[in-house]
C-alpha cells in the first residue's frame, strides 16, 4: 500500500539527510507506529506519504514513494487526497470551515463528489467517529478529543485507503486519547485501512500497533513487530521496561500480556511489599541526594541548590505557611464557571500534579496561582502575596510559570540573549541564567536560535529562565506534551532536585507516568471542582484511567514505577 524505495530526503541540497535510504513497505490494514526522538525525521516521513514532502516543503527527494500505485513525484498532495488522509499535529490549525458538519464535507467537496454521496458519507462518518451529537457545533466550542475526532472524520469522508496522523493523542487527556485510539483501531479492523501514526507516548499506543518503525537520528529506520522493536529500542514504555527488568519473554507490550506474565513476580514481591502509606514517593524531601544522577549535578558554584536550600530552610523556620494557598477560589469566563470553590495548599518541597479532563479548569487554576486571572470570590496567596498584584521582578521572585507552549515566553533571537534578558529582568548577576541552563541541559548551545531547539531543549531553556530568580513556587502547564522519553527523564530529574531543594511544584498534566514518577500528591479537577486530593498512590490506583502501567500490572501490590519494582526486587533478593 505504501512503498518507500531507497528514499533519501534533504531540506537543502547538499545538507544533512533527514531521511537516509529509507526502505519501507506497509501492507493494507496495518497500524504502523513511527517512533523516534524529536528531530529524527518522523514528521518528514509522515508528510512524504502524501507528497507534502517535497511538493509543499521544498527540498530534495531521491528514490521513490508510491502510495496505492501512485508515485508522489507525479501526484501533488491534492491529487492524492482521495487515497491518503493526513491529520497534522494541531487539528485546529488545519480546519478550513467553522462547523463540524461542513468540516466533514470539505474534502469531498474538493474531490467533486455528487451531493447524495456526500450526505451518506457524512452520516456514516458521524456515526463511526461518534460525532452525531456534535454535528451542528462550531469547531471552536469542541474539546481537544472531539476536535481530534472531527479532524480524523474529515479525512475519512474522502474514503482514503491510508490515514496518516502526527501525534494524535499528545494534547489529550487519557480518556480522550483512548477514545481516539479506539476509533483508529476500528478503522483498521473493520475497514482494513492502513494507519500510520507518530507518537511520543508509547505507553498509549504501542499495544495497538501491528508494526513499529524506529527512526534513528541517522535517518535509517528499523522495522518489526512491536515486541521485537521494543526489545531493542532505547526508548520504551514502562510495561516494556518492566518486562526487560523481569526478563520476560516474549516481551509484553500491553498491560494484559504483562499482567499474565507478572503472576510470579507479584507473588514473589508480595512479601516485601510495604504498607501503602509507609512508601515514600520519589519526589518527597526524604530522598537522599545520592540518588540523583551525579553527572547532571556539577558542584553548584552558581548556587542553585545551595541558595535554594538555604532559602527554603529560612522560609521553613520563619514562615511555616504554605507556599501556595488557594482558598475557595471561584472563577468564570463569562457565564461558564471555570473553577468552583477550589481550595488547594502547597507546602515547600512538594510536587503536586493537577489532573482532569481537557477543560476541567487545570490551566485556569494555574493562571490564578500566577495572578493572570483574578478570582471572583476566594483568595490566592503565593508566599503570602496576592500574585495578581505582583509585577516585574516581584512576580519573578515569587512564582515561575512554564506555559503549555514554552516558546511563547521566548522573544530574543539567541539562547544567549534570552539568558541575558532574564538576568536583567530578575536583577541577577550576569551569567546566572546561562549557568543554570548549563546545569539543566548542558548540550544547549548559547548561540542557537530558540526556534531551532528541540521541544525538550526549549523546555529546559524556559525552565532555566523561570528558575533563575529562585522562586519558591514553580508552575508547569502540560510540560511533557511533545517530549520524547529522554527529555522527559531529564525533566523528572530537574523536578526532583527542585523539590529536594525546597521549591513547591504544581503541574497540570495528562501524563500518568510522569505523575507516578515525580508527584507526591495528585489533585483531580472536574468541571472546575476539586473532586479528589490525596497522595499519588491512593489517587492513581483508584481509577483505571489515571493508573500508570506498572500499577495496573502489579495491582494489588502498591508499586507505581519500574524503579519502585526494581528496588523491591533488590530487597527481595
Amino acid at each position: 500500500m505504501i512503498d518507500f524505495d531507497d528514499v533519501t530526503f534533504r531540506y537543502q541540497p547538499g545538507g544533512q539527510a533527514v531521511l537516509d535510504r529509507v526502505d519501507l513497505h506497509l501492507d493494507e490494514g496495518e497500524l504502523c507506529l513511527v517512533v523516534g526522538e524529536t528531530g529524527s525525521g518522523k514528521s518528514t516521513l509522515l508528510r512524504a506519504i502524501n507528497g507534502l514532502v517535497p511538493h509543499f516543503t521544498g527540498g530534495e527527494l531521491s528514490g521513490r514513494v508510491t502510495v496505492a500505485g501512485r508515485n508522489t513525484r507525479d501526484f501533488p498532495p491534492r491529487e492524492l487526497a482521495d487515497v491518503v488522509g493526513v491529520v497534522l499535529q494541531d487539528p485546529m490549525s488545519g480546519f478550513v470551515t467553522d462547523m463540524v458538519e461542513d468540516e466533514l464535507a470539505y474534502g469531498m467537496e474538493s474531490l467533486g463528489l455528487p451531493r447524495d454521496a456526500m450526505r451518506k458519507r457524512v452520516e456514516e462518518t458521524l456515526d463511526l467517529m461518534g460525532l452525531a451529537e456534535l454535528r451542528n457545533r462550531p469547531l471552536l466550542s469542541l474539546s481537544g478529543g472531539q476536535r481530534q475526532r472531527v479532524a480524523i472524520g474529515s479525512v475519512l469522508t474522502a474514503h482514503p485507503q491510508v490515514i496518516v496522523l502526527d501525534e494524535p493523542t499528545s494534547a489529550l487527556d487519557p480518556g480522550a486519547a483512548e477514545e481516539v485510539l479506539a476509533a483508529l483501531q476500528r478503522l483498521v479492523h473493520d475497514l482494513g485501512m492502513t494507519v500510520v501514526l507518530a507518537e511520543h507516548r508509547l505507553e498509549r499506543v504501542v499495544q495497538y500497533a501491528d508494526r513499529v518503525v524506529v527512526l534513528e537520528s541517522s535517518g535509517t529506520p528499523d522495522t518489526g513487530t512491536p515486541a521485537a522493536m521494543m526489545a531493542l529500542s532505547p526508548v520504551a514504555p514502562p510495561v516494556v521496561q518492566l518486562g526487560r527488568l523481569a526478563g520476560w519473554s516474549p516481551l509484553p507490550v500491553s498491560v494484559r500480556d504483562a499482567r499474565r506474565l507478572a503472576r510470579n513476580l507479584r507473588a514473589d514481591l508480595a512479601r516485601v511489599a510495604p504498607a501503602p502509606d509507609s512508601l515514600a514517593r520519589p519526589g518527597a524531601a526524604a530522598q537522599p541526594e545520592s540518588q540523583l544522577p551525579p553527572a547532571a549535578v556539577p558542584a553548584p558554584r552558581t548556587g542553585l541548590l545551595r541558595r535554594r536550600a538555604s532559602r527554603a530552610a529560612t522560609r521553613a523556620e520563619t514562615r511555616p505557611a504554605p507556599v501556595l494557598q488557594c482558598r475557595r477560589v471561584t472563577l468564570s469566563y463569562g457565564p461558564v464557571p471555570a473553577l468552583v470553590d477550589a481550595s488547594l495548599q502547597l507546602q515547600a518541597g512538594s510536587v503536586v500534579a493537577l489532573m482532569g479532563r481537557n477543560g476541567a479548569g487545570k490551566s485556569t487554576l494555574l493562571k490564578a496561582a500566577v495572578g493572570l486571572l483574578k478570582p471572583v470570590t476566594g483568595e490566592v496567596r503565593v508566599a503570602g502575596h496576592d500574585p495578581a498584584g505582583l509585577r516585574g521582578v516581584d512576580l519573578l521572585r515569587q512564582v515561575g510559570f512554564v506555559p503549555q507552549e514554552p516558546a511563547d515566553v521566548l522573544c530574543e533571537d539567541s539562547v544567549r540573549a534570552e539568558c541575558r534578558a532574564a538576568d536583567t529582568d530578575s536583577r541577577l548577576a550576569a551569567g546566572t541564567t546561562a549557568a543554570l541552563l548549563a546545569e539543566i541541559s548542558p548540550e544547549v548551545s548559547l548561540d542557537a536560535h530558540p526556534g531551532d531547539l528541540s521541544e525538550g531543549q526549549r523546555l529546559s531553556l524556559v525552565l532555566a529562565l523561570m528558575l533563575a530568580p529562585a522562586p519558591p513556587l514553580l508552575l508547569l502547564d502540560e510540560p511533557t506534551r511533545g517530549l520524547d522519553y529522554g527529555s522527559k527523564a531529564r525533566l523528572v530529574t530537574v523536578l526532583r532536585r527542585l523539590a529536594h531543594a525546597g521549591t513547591a511544584v504544581l503541574m497540570a498534566t495528562h501524563d500518568v507516568e510522569l505523575v507516578a514518577e515525580v508527584a507526591d500528591r495528585v489533585v483531580i479537577l472536574a468541571d472546575g471542582e476539586v473532586v479528589a486530593d490525596g497522595p499519588t498512590r491512593e489517587i492513581v490506583t483508584a481509577s483505571p484511567i489515571f493508573a500508570p502501567q506498572v500499577a495496573k500490572i502489579m495491582a494489588p501490590e502498591p508499586w507505581l514505577t519500574v524503579d519502585d519494582v526494581a528496588a523491591a526486587m533488590a530487597v527481595a533478593q
Partner: protein
C-alpha cells in the same frame, strides 16, 4: 459583546434550526444601508440601527464571527466623533448660532480654501453630527449582515469561479480572532517574564512572536488544505482562461460604473441602467465560464425558500420606501439645519424601515448550539474568541 440583548441559548442537545441563506441577509442589510444612505434624518437613522440591532439580537448565531455587530457599532461611534472634530477644526461655519470662537490659524496663500479654527456654530455641529450618523448607520447595517450571515456559508454560495478568491478572504477573516488570541497569549507570557505588557515596548516585544505564530498557522492551514484536495482543477486552455478573465473584469467594471451612476442622484439615471445591466451580464457570463474549471461540488447548499424571499424583500422595501419618500417629500429625509428645525418624521420611510423588522420573527432560528464541552483549557479557545455558551 454587543449592546443588544443576548438571546437565551436553546436547551437540549441538537436543537435543530436552519441557516438562512447568507445572500438573503446581505440583501436585507444592503436594503437598509441604502435607506440610510438616502437620509440625514437622525430619527430615521436611529430607527434603522435599532431595527438592525433587533434582528441581530433575535437571529444571531453563536459563533465568533457573529459578534461583529458590536464592533461595527463602536466603529460607527468613532466615525461620528471624527466627523464632528473635523467640522470643528476645518469646517466652514453654517448658520448664525455661534457657540465658541476658536483662534484662527493663518495659513499661507496657497491654502486659501482651507480654514483652521474660527467660530463654531450649533448649525454646523448638528450638520456634522447628522452626516457622521448616516455613515455610522450604513456601517451598522453592514455589521448586522456580517454577524447574521456566516462568512463560510457565504463562501459556499459564491460562484465557483470566485471560490478561490473567496477562500483567501475567509481565511483572512478567521485570522483576525486567532491573531487576537495570539496577542493575548504573548502578552500573558511577557508578564510572566516580568516585562511590560503595554506601551511601545510591550507592543514591539509582542509583535514578533504574534506574527511568527500567525505565519506558522497559515502554513499549517495551507498544508492541510492542500492535503484535502483544495485546488484540484479541470484542465482548460489558456485562451479560454483569458476570455473568462476579460469577461469577469470588464463586467465587474461595468457593473460598478453603472451602479455608481444609478445611486448617485446627480447624474441622469437612465444612462446608468444599461451600463449596469450590460456589465452584470458580462460578469455573470465570465463567472459561469470560469466555473467550468472548478470541479468542486457543494454539500447541503442553503436552500432559497419563503423566509429568504421575505428577508430580501423586507430589505428592499426599506430601500424603496426611502426612495419614494425622497420623491414625495424630500424635506423630511434631510432636515434643514439652517435655520435649525426639529426633524420631521418621514412617515413612508419609517414604515418601510419597520417592514425590515419582520425577519426577526419570520425567519428560522439558526441551528441551536448547546453548551460547549470545553471551557478554556485549550489554547485555541479563549474567553474572548471562544463561543459563548
Amino acid at each position: 459583546m454587543t449592546t443588544t440583548a443576548v438571546r437565551k441559548p436553546p436547551t437540549g442537545v441538537g436543537v435543530r434550526g436552519r441557516w438562512l441563506h447568507p445572500v438573503a441577509w446581505w440583501l436585507w442589510a444592503l436594503g437598509l444601508a441604502t435607506a440610510a444612505s438616502r437620509t440625514t434624518n437622525p430619527a430615521l437613522l436611529i430607527l434603522i440601527v435599532v431595527v438592525a440591532g433587533t434582528v441581530v439580537a433575535a437571529r444571531r448565531p453563536q459563533a465568533p464571527w457573529s459578534r461583529s455587530f458590536g464592533v461595527f457599532l463602536r466603529l460607527g461611534l468613532i466615525i461620528v466623533a471624527i466627523r464632528v472634530v473635523f467640522q470643528v477644526v476645518f469646517g466652514l461655519p453654517q448658520g448664525t448660532t455661534v457657540l465658541v470662537t476658536l483662534p484662527t490659524v493663518d495659513l499661507p496663500d496657497w491654502l486659501a480654501g482651507v480654514r483652521l479654527g474660527g467660530s463654531i456654530t450649533a448649525e454646523s455641529l448638528v450638520f456634522a453630527l447628522y452626516d457622521g450618523l448616516r455613515l455610522a448607520t450604513v456601517l451598522a447595517c453592514l455589521g448586522a449582515a456580517s454577524s447574521l450571515a456566516s462568512p463560510y456559508r457565504l463562501l459556499k454560495a459564491m460562484p465557483a469561479a470566485l471560490y478561490e478568491v473567496g477562500v483567501s478572504v475567509v481565511v483572512a477573516l478567521s485570522f483576525a480572532p486567532a491573531l487576537v488570541t495570539d496577542l493575548q497569549r504573548v502578552r500573558t507570557a511577557r508578564r510572566l517574564r516580568g516585562r511590560p505588557t503595554s506601551g511601545i515596548r510591550g507592543l514591539t516585544g509582542s509583535a514578533m512572536p504574534v506574527f511568527s505564530g500567525a505565519l506558522d498557522r497559515s502554513i499549517a492551514l495551507a498544508a492541510a488544505m492542500d492535503s484535502r484536495g483544495y485546488g484540484r482543477m479541470a484542465d482548460l486552455s489558456p485562451r479560454d482562461r483569458r476570455i473568462t478573465a476579460a469577461l469577469v473584469l470588464g463586467g465587474l467594471l461595468g457593473t460598478c460604473l453603472g451602479l455608481y451612476v444609478l445611486l448617485d442622484g446627480s447624474i441622469a439615471a437612465p444612462a446608468g441602467l444599461p451600463v449596469f445591466l450590460l456589465g452584470l451580464a458580462a460578469a455573470l457570463l465570465g463567472l459561469l465560464r470560469g466555473g467550468r474549471r472548478n470541479t468542486r461540488t457543494r454539500y447541503r447548499p442553503d436552500p432559497w425558500r419563503t423566509p429568504e424571499w421575505i428577508t430580501a424583500a423586507s430589505g428592499c422595501a426599506a430601500a424603496a420606501a426611502a426612495v419614494v419618500q425622497g420623491i414625495v417629500d424630500p424635506s423630511a429625509l434631510n432636515p434643514a439645519v439652517t435655520p435649525m428645525t426639529w426633524p420631521q418624521v418621514p412617515i413612508i420611510a419609517v414604515v418601510g424601515t419597520l417592514i425590515a423588522l419582520l425577519p426577526a420573527w419570520l425567519t428560522p432560528e439558526p441551528p441551536g448550539i448547546v453548551r460547549s464541552g470545553s471551557a478554556s483549557d485549550t489554547s485555541t479557545t479563549s474567553p474572548e474568541t471562544g463561543v459563548a455558551v
